[in-house]
Structure formats: structure tokens, C-alpha cells
């Protein structure tokens, strides 16, 4: 299958290019903003760094070198798999990311699954319920897709933690702690997935094979799960790679609000502290996860839609 191999090679090249571009843009963007990283490392409110301390920090982290030298040194180390040393955490970047990545991945995957469940559930309900249900479902999706994470998080905390008192307002060990953060990220995504599904659902429902199925006497719900969902899901699956990326960026807000461990919080504090190596490291890991996820969705797309297999192979 030369076509398939070429496709795979192209994709792999694309991954490398994305990673390089992400590292380069992040590196320079952070270094071109005014502000001295050495001061940020030592400083902070109410402290005045001594000149010796600053010199020491500059030497230790190579900040006294020209920017281009710092960049090339950095790229050279990246190629060998060394993400460098985080100066805001006093530890290797790889270790710092390793400690936090699991939490974010768990959150993102839980949210993705929950979002799909919510989107399919709502779609199934609104197919069965007729015109009114369709309108309500569509309205809910619009609202869900529009709400910002920080607002939704606050509302969910107010309702589930302070009013009902059944879920903790901040992350705690165990499965209970992940419910509200995952829900916060899943609801807007479900709204978005639902909207995308709905359009193709509409097209599919008017296609001849559905008419045939109806003529056979199949119920609307059965038609939905057996036939139309497959059609409706294709564009939404294509979006799951993108959705995964958006979940990781959503984690910045959600992890902070719920005080959860994770890369999003690391990223936020690293940006504020101008910890270039840590920011770049996180961006690289996220870019990698994103490209891998896109690859996976492409494969999933083929699995769901036999026509795609025929076209590419």
C-alpha cells in the first residue's frame, strides 16, 4: 500500500513540523515580551534581588547568552529528548510535566466521554420527542456551546456544592472530585458537538434509507441509534481532535477554579513567571497530544465511514 505509507509519512512529517513550530514560536514570543526572567525567578512582590544573586541566576540558566544561542542550545537539547530545567520549579521540566500530565489527561478524557454522552443523549431525546423536543434540544445546545467555563464552574459550584451539598467545590482525591471539573468542560463541548451532529442528523433523517426503515416499521429511536447517528457522528468525530485541544486549553481555567492538579495550572504559572523552558515543554506535550489525537480521529473516521477507506486506499 504505497498510498497508505505515503499518507503516514506525510502525517509524521507534519507532526515534527508542528512540534518545531510550536517550540520556536513559544520560545521567541516569551522572550520578546519585556521583563527580565532573572528578576521574575528571584523577585515577586516585596523582594529586591541582589546583583550577585541575579548574576548567579543568569549564569545558571544561560540567560546571559545571546538569544539565538539560547534558542539553538535549546533546540539541540530538545532533539536529544531533554526538555531542560524549569527555573520556577527548581526541577527538570520532564519531571514537572510527568507529575501533572496524568491529571490533565484524565480530566480531558473524562470530559470528552461525558460530552459525547451528553450530546448523543440529548440528540436521541430530541429525535423521539418531536418538534418541541427538537426545538428545546437545539436551544439547549446553543446555550451550552456559548457559556464560558469560569461562569459555568461558578454556577455548578453554587448549585451542587453550596445548595445541594453533594459534590465538593474543589478537587478532592477520588472520583467525586472530578465530577464538577469534567462537567464544566463537557457541557460547552457537548453543545458544540450536538450542534454539529444536528445538521447532518437532519439531512440523514430525510434520506431514502430512513424512509425505508420507517416503512419497515422501525421506531424513531431505533432508527436514530442504528442508522442516523452514524451519519451524524462523522463530522463530530472529525472535530474530536480539535475538541481535545480545546479541552486542554479549557483546563487552564477549570484546573484553577477547582484547584486541581494539572498542566493547565502549570502553564498559567509558568507564563506568569516567564519560565520559558517549562512553557515550551508544556506546549510541546500538548501539541504532541493534539496531533496524536487528530491522527486517532482520522482513523476513527475511517472506521465509522466505510466510504473513506475506499477513497484513501
Amino acid at each position: 500500500m504505497p498510498g497508505y505509507r505515503r499518507w503516514l509519512l506525510l502525517r509524521a512529517g507534519g507532526v515534527v513540523f508542528v512540534l518545531w513550530a510550536a517550540a520556536t514560536i513559544t520560545f521567541f514570543a516569551l522572550r520578546l515580551i519585556p521583563g527580565d526572567p532573572a528578576e521574575a525567578i528571584l523577585g515577586g512582590p516585596g523582594s529586591q534581588a541582589g546583583p550577585e544573586a541575579l548574576e548567579q541566576v543568569r549564569r545558571e540558566y544561560g540567560l546571559d547568552q545571546p538569544l539565538v544561542v539560547q534558542y539553538l542550545t535549546y533546540l539541540g537539547r530538545l532533539v536529544t529528548g531533554d526538555l531542560g530545567q524549569s527555573y520556577s520549579l527548581h526541577k527538570p521540566v520532564a519531571t514537572a510535566i510527568g507529575e501533572q500530565f496524568g491529571a490533565t489527561l484524565t480530566l480531558a478524557l473524562c470530559s470528552l466521554v461525558l460530552a459525547w454522552a451528553l450530546a448523543c443523549g440529548l440528540a436521541a431525546w430530541s429525535v423521539r420527542g418531536g418538534r418541541v423536543a427538537w426545538a428545546i434540544g437545539s436551544g439547549l445546545e446553543l446555550v451550552a456551546a456559548a457559556v464560558p467555563h469560569f461562569w459555568l464552574a461558578t454556577v455548578l459550584i453554587l448549585f451542587f456544592s453550596l445548595t445541594l451539598g453533594i459534590l465538593p467545590p474543589v478537587s478532592v482525591p477520588g472520583p467525586l472530585g472530578i465530577v464538577l471539573p469534567a462537567l464544566t468542560m463537557a457541557i460547552p463541548l457537548a453543545g458544540f458537538l450536538g450542534q454539529v451532529m444536528r445538521e447532518s442528523l437532519l439531512t440523514a433523517m430525510e434520506s431514502p434509507f430512513v424512509t425505508t426503515a420507517r416503512a419497515r416499521g422501525e421506531s424513531e429511536v431505533r432508527i436514530f441509534w442504528r442508522h442516523t447517528l452514524r451519519h451524524a457522528a462523522i463530522p463530530a468525530i472529525g472535530l474530536s481532535g480539535w475538541a481535545f485541544g480545546s479541552l486542554i486549553s479549557g483546563a487552564v481555567v477549570v484546573e484553577s477554579v477547582f484547584a486541581r492538579q494539572g498542566l493547565g495550572r502549570s502553564l498559567l504559572s509558568a507564563v506568569q513567571l516567564r519560565d520559558v523552558t517549562l512553557v515550551t515543554g508544556i506546549v510541546l506535550v500538548v501539541a504532541l497530544a493534539y496531533t496524536v489525537m487528530t491522527l486517532v480521529t482520522d482513523l476513527a473516521d475511517r472506521a465509522v465511514d466505510p466510504r473513506r477507506r475506499a477513497v484513501v486506499e
Binding site: 515580551i33 519585556p34 521583563g35 527580565d36 526572567p37 532573572a38 528578576e39 521574575a40 525567578i41 528571584l42 523577585g43 515577586g44 512582590p45 516585596g46 523582594s47 529586591q48 534581588a49 541582589g50 546583583p51 550577585e52 544573586a53 548574576e55 548567579q56 541566576v57 520556577s88 520549579l89 527548581h90 514537572a96 507529575e99 501533572q100 436551544g139 446553543l142 446555550v143 456551546a145 456559548a146 464552574a153 461558578t154 454556577v155 459550584i157 453554587l158 448549585f159 456544592s161 453550596l162 445548595t163 465538593p168 467545590p169 474543589v170 478537587s171 450542534q195 484553577s256 477554579v257 484547584a259 492538579q261 494539572g262 495550572r265 502549570s266 504559572s269 507564563v271 506568569q272 513567571l273
Partner: protein, 551 residues
Amino acid sequence: MPSRRFSRPRAAVVVTAAVALLLAACSPGGGTASEPSSEPVAGGTLTYASGDAEPSCLDPHVGGNYPQALIATQYLESLVSLDDDGEVIPWLATEWTESDDGMAWEFSLRDDVTFTDGTPFDAAAVAANIAHVQDPATASSTGYLALAKITDVVAVDDHTVRLELSAPDSALLESLSQVWVAMESPKALERSQEDNCAAPVGTGPFVVDEWERQDSVTLVRNDDYNSPPADAEGTGLPYLDSIVWRFIPDSASRYAALQSGEAQVIDNAQPDTIKSAESDDAIEELDAPRPGASNRIELNSGKAPFDDERVREAFIRSVNVDDGIQSLFFGTAERSYSPLSSVEPLGLSLPDLFTVDTDAAANLLDEAGWAERDADGYRVKDGKRLTLDFPVSTNQSIPAEQSLFEQIQADAKTAGFEVNLHPLDLSSWYGALAENDYDLVSAPYTKVGPDVLRILYHSDSITPAPSGYFANLAQVDDAALDDLLTRASATSNADDRESMYEQAQRIVLDGYYILPLYDQQNHFLYSSAVQGLRAMPTVSTPTFAGAWLVS
């Protein structure tokens, strides 16, 4: 997706309705505070939720900021402490004498204290700690500055240590009381910085047990604890089994965690939260203004237009700060008229200098040559608009303070000043200061004692460090003031010191270099189940050494 365009108004309606429903559903939780029992109860785990950034190092020698001080207060102790009146009292040192020429201090140390790794506390430990803070490899900033005048540490005997100075230092004891120069086990200090940052070893009531990054630090009771400061009630062991120190950056989540019982103590309580907690019997407040400088706006006298004192006075006379503080802080912050915090015994307050007088301000601006106004109503001189750049650190200024700056901006506009607020993250903010790219700025500074005035207003502090950062942001350059501050930091006569610091503050206030706002706000909210909590009179960090939980 064209449908999005239509969704907005509909979404707004639904969202508004949802909020209304939710708010209606959230009736205020009835406060059923149990009667505080007077007998302390041992045991239990307390959860502390901090709104500050998680420290990158738990050893406050490294760097040296307030979040580090907050947590390190639980496991590290200093040579001396302060009592509620600001008097220096014994802690790990039992007594001390200053040599006649002020060039050396001798401290007698307690001989019955051990660090939690078993290392004895002695003169060699003091020497190792001072060396650690002064070692450039430690990258200490706050502690380094506090110990700057110490040139040598001599162990006279096992439990007597002599500090030799480069110049007399009347602030030495106050400096040593700060947790940024607290005593750590010399054996532990020999480990790598990464290890020492993860679990510093002290003599304090608690011990660092585990640090789960971006989640929590677990502190457990020091079962051999025997070294509380001289003003502590009781000498016994801490009551709590452990403290879980969490980091919850979002203010609303932090308060929700307190309300729902996930946390028993929270810091960085915002004005609106404090206000709403007032009506909740199950929640108490601890207001512990930080020592050192008050929160104030510095007027950059180092360049136009504020190099003209008349323009500075005009600005200060034009803006109504009182009303803004009232409405934005809900009565939780009291207006300050001093360069120093209200907890500093030597603080001088001159309210008369800060009464609003827009007519006088207008006359001053006319005199200073800013007589004309342009089409937008701003004053101009030689075709140049009266513009002020105000970089605002969004890390340091809480939302209420940022709103206050906006009100000041509006007041100043009426008077003909164009104030440009620039919200910046910490590094960019440092950058703007280093470039001298500001006319107004507000920067906190925490330090025990009036010597903070020397750091903030001595002309030496205009000379930037190699990084470009400098502490004298008002760029006050006054020989008489320099002389007063230098002599005050060297004198050992308490009356002279008091009088010199008073004159120094008068120069700063009279010269309209600063617009004091309020103390550095430091509000804690805690469950009424927590008893025996107090703030250290040194840097106002809460201590749990004598705290217990009512079951």
C-alpha cells in the same frame, strides 16, 4: 456557524433566567456555630486554602516572598520575635547585647532545641544559616537584603554567637525576626537545593511531610516541639495532628471550600467575601495588616511632569480616594495617610495633606504652566498633553484595587490629567519599571520595622540593580532625607531613631511623593471550629502552633 449569531440574545435570556433561578435557590446557609469550648482539644487535621501562587521552593531563604513566609511560619523559627507592641522578644535566642560601637551583636542561644532531623540547634547552626542566605547560589533576595550588613559570624561557644557588622544596624533585630531568615537544620541545608526546597527542616511546631505539586503540602505535628516564642500561650505541643496546605487560586472557589467545610482557613479573602462572611456565624475573620510600607501610589518625581512638586500636589488634591475605598472595599480597608503600615509603631500619619481640593489643584496646574486644555478636556503645555502612565500589576493589585485605580483615573480626568492604566503581568510590570516607563505605580513592600523607609526612599535605591529593578519608585532624591535614613539605621538610641524616622516620613509626605491608600491587606477567614489561631506580630502570617479544632 451562522446559527451562533442568532443564539446570542436567546442565550442571554436563558442564561439570565438560569442565574435568577440559581440565586433564588441559594438561600443563605443558616449559621449554627457551636459555642466555642474553652478547653483545647488535641488531634484532627486542618485544611488551609491559600490564594497565593504555590511557592516554587518551601525554603524561604530561596527567593523570599510572602507565600513562602505563610507556610514556612508553620515549620521554621527565628532567633527573635516581636510581641503585639512591636517589642523584640526572645525566641531561639534568649538574650542579646549590642557592642558599644554597634559593630557587633552577641546572642545567647537556647541549648535545649533540636531540629526535626535530630541536628542540635547551636552557634554553628546560626552560622550555617547566615552563610546559606548570603551565598549567591541560594538566590535569596529578601533574606539577603535583611542580612546585608553581617560580615562575619563567630561561634563564641556552643550556644553563644557573635554577628559582626560592616556598619551599625538598628534594624538588625527586626530583620532577624522575619521568617525569610529563619533557622534551618545545617545538615538539611547541605542537601541539593531541589531536596531542601521540597522539605526544609526547622525547629517549628510542624514538619513538612509531603508536597504534592499544585495540590497540597502536608504538614504533620512535631512531637518534640519545645521552642515557642516568648509571647506564646502555653509551652506545650501543638494540638493539631496535621495541616493540609492547599492552593486554591480562585477567590470564589476558595470561599466555597470554606463554606462547604473542605477548608477551615482561607487567606486572601476579598472585600466582597469578607462582607458576605460577616453575616455567617460559622465564619470568623482575622485581619492582620502586613508590616513595612502601606499600600500607596508612588509619583515618579524623577521625570516630567511629576518632577514639579506643584503637579504632584495637584494630582493628589484632585483625586477622591476615600469614596472609592468605601464603596469598593465595603469598609474592610481603612484609609492610610502614612508611608508605613498601621502596625508599625513609628508610622506617621498626616491626613491634612491629602484633603481633596480641586480648586487648589487647578491653580497649581495653572502655575506650573499646564493652563490650557485641549479638545478632550486634558491640560496641555507647549502642545503636550498632561499624560500619566500607570502600569498596574494584575498579580499584586486585587480586583477592588484595580477598580479603585479606575476611579482615580476618572477623578484625574476631571482635573485635566490623562491617566493611562496599563494592566500587566508581573514580569512585564517589572519591565515597565526598569525602563522608567511610568509616572504612577503601586508596589507593595513587606519588611518588619521602619527601616523599610531607607529601602524605599533613600536615593541609593534609585540606582537600579543589574536587573533594572529598584525600590525607590517615587525616585525621591533628597540629601536631607538620605542623611536621616542613614543615621536612623545606625543609631542605637531609641528616641533619636523615632525622631529621625518621623522627620523622614514628613519629608516624603510633605513632598507629595506618595498617595497612601491603606495597609497591605491581609485578611483571613476561618471556620468558627478553629480556635487559638493568631497572626505572628512579625510579618503577620498566621500560626497554627496553638490552634485546635472544636469537634
